[in-house]
Amino acid sequence: MNSSNRLTPILLKATSLATILFWTLISTEDIGTEIYFFIIPSIIPIAIVCSLTVVITIMPFFGLEKENVPNNKIFKKYFPYYSSIAFSLCSYFIYNSNFEKVVCAFFITAFFTLMQSWVWLCKVPADLQKKNTNLENIRYDEI
């Protein structure tokens, strides 16, 4: 199942999620109000970082498998290890920064955005889901 067809909307969704998460976490800190003027311009670097991370760290898993391997199989096969490694790396950087607030916000955002991106990328589109269910029903009736 080709997830790259749906990549652009997913990257847009991931960028939106990352922006909201990052600014929600940052807004709780004691920083000046003038920083809020950076919310809109910040979307550009967030989009670049988000897209690069998704394309470089998640998309290769889809390339590793043959074309007809369903997305849910790819999810089950790689997501557990990916999430564990991502969590370990994020925790390491947070710990190394001595729990610096901005670093915490960055890596918490990165972790949750990446996990949600996996779900979006591997989600089987509704029409395909229906088709699969119908096919299964037909097979079942034949038996």
């Binding site: 929600t24 709780t28 089950k76 997501f79 969590f87 989600k123 229906k130």
Partner: protein
């Protein structure tokens, strides 16, 4: 009901951790996790291995309160992942439990959400959630209660005063996010998941070698391999005996050595031991990887292997003697204790290798047993207040006291050092450092909130 329990736990999580350092909160979190897991699944108590994991986890939780250190915190986190992984699949190996525990604790919600997205029936169920109903159930009573509270406040000055006293200032967006994080964490741990196919294949893999599953090999090849093994083991045994004799002779000179010489001896000895043991186990595993285990004429090779294992254990004992001698003369340090732990682990590794060969077990058996033992050693090590023991031993028994080293240890030895400078003559610079350490620790203890409390807080209150 399930959601209410999770919500209460999440609020407790935020109360315990929001803007707090580690202390009593981690111990209470440990207790809360166990309670929640048992509430969710009462069958848990019926499983022996889960009970052991619960006990281990509770012990690490208690040690964090008694003498907080990096080791106790790390042991607590590892015990947490082990317990969660055990709840996911209690029959799996401990390293698979670590992976399952971590996977469950960090992303169970995402995995379950993904499954629900791809199941049509569940999607239909989702649509059926009646938001208007929930808005009515929560919104209407809340609005009416607020109206009545305001009415009563106007009617009764005492009630008004009481309401004004309730301080909700701690509730802010950050606190709410902590609640959300707590809810996410508790949701994850109460919904255990497994990594597949890893877990099922691990459960299916037995601990022993099966003759039928091995690749067929000719008798000549087997004989050649056995011969090679015998020659190699014979030469290795001869070499290690020669090494042992020289080492034992060398032991008698140990008392006359300078500190630097002894230190060099112990460190090079340990390094050599690491390599020789890894190599020893690798060679044994190579020869006893398959068919040779079932070869009828393998008794000689087996005997030579057992002798080699025994001789390797002897090398471990001699290195341990050197290390103990070093400790007696120059005191305890973390490095020297670490060497003792390493030697203990090496001996256990050699013993499990002996069992593997004698009982025809496979590589998985070795991996399983050794990781299990390493986990138990970690738990046991975390139950000891090392900083206090090191300080107590060095100031009371060791021939030389390195106060600079003791001052740089964690706060667990502060009271001992303070007593030491009060009872002994110590140079001014070091007394100053110890007093500074003591004053800083006392300030920290006094400033500790109830969440950050440690056992030393109770001592200073007396």
């Amino acid at each position: 009901m399930k959601n209410v329990t999770l919500l209460i736990s999440a609020v407790l999580f935020s109360t315990l951790y929001y803007k707090q350092n580690i202390g009593l909160n981690l111990s209470l979190f440990t207790l809360l996790t166990v309670l929640l897991l048992v509430l969710k699944n009462r069958e848990l108590f019926k499983n022996k291995s889960t009970n052991y994991k619960i006990i281990g986890y509770l012990i690490t939780g208690t040690t964090v309160f008694l003498y907080k250190s990096d080791l106790t915190i790390i042991a607590n986190i590892i015990a947490f992942f082990t317990l969660i992984g055990n709840v996911s699949a209690h029959k799996s190996s401990i390293y698979v439990q670590w992976l399952n525990g971590m996977y469950t604790a960090i992303v169970s919600a995402f995995s379950l959400y993904y499954d629900s997205l791809n199941t049509e029936t569940k999607q239909l169920k989702k649509v059926k959630i009646n938001y208007v109903y929930w808005l009515k159930i929560i919104g209407i009573p809340a609005t009416i209660i607020i109206i009545f509270i305001n009415l009563y406040r106007n009617g009764n000055p005492m009630f008004d005063e009481l309401i004004l006293k309730i301080d909700f200032s701690f509730i802010n967006l950050h606190w709410m996010l902590f609640v959300l994080l707590g809810y996410y964490l508790f949701y994850n741990i109460t919904h255990p998941i497994k990594i597949e196919p890893l877990t099922s294949s691990d459960i299916c893999t037995k601990n022993y070698l099966e003759k039928d599953t091995l690749e067929a090999i000719s008798l000549l090849q087997l004989k050649n391999e056995k011969q090679l093994g015998i020659v190699l083991m014979l030469s290795l045994n001869a070499l290690i005996i020669f090494f042992l004799i020289t080492d034992i002779l060398h032991l008698s000179e140990i008392h006359n050595m300078l500190a630097s010489q002894l230190s060099k001896q112990v460190h090079t000895g340990v390094n050599a031991l690491i390599f020789s043991n890894i190599l020893a186990i690798a060679i044994i595993l190579y020869f006893f990887r398959g068919n040779l285990n079932f070869f009828e004429n393998n008794t000689d090779l087996k005997k030579l292997t057992f002798v080699w294992i025994f001789l390797n254990v002897s090398v471990v004992i001699i290195t341990a003697i050197k290390n103990i001698e070093y400790i007696v003369s120059f005191g305890l340090t973390y490095k020297r204790i670490g060497v003792l732990f390493f030697l203990a682990a090496t001996s256990i590794g050699l013993i499990t290798t002996y069992i593997k060969v004698s009982k025809i077990k496979n590589l998985w058996y070795l991996l399983r047993k050794n990781t299990q033992i390493a986990f138990v050693i970690l738990l046991l090590a975390s139950t000891i207040n090392w900083d206090k023991i090191i300080t107590y031993y060095n100031i009371n028994t060791a021939d030389q006291v390195d106060l600079k080293y003791l001052i740089n240890l964690s706060d667990n030895n502060t009271f001992l050092l303070k007593d030491y400078i009060e009872e002994n003559k110590v140079d001014t610079k070091k007394t100053l450092h110890i007093n500074r350490k003591y004053n800083r620790y006392m300030t920290d203890l006094e400033n500790n909130s109830w969440q950050e409390m440690v056992y030393d807080n109770l001592k200073i209150k007396k």
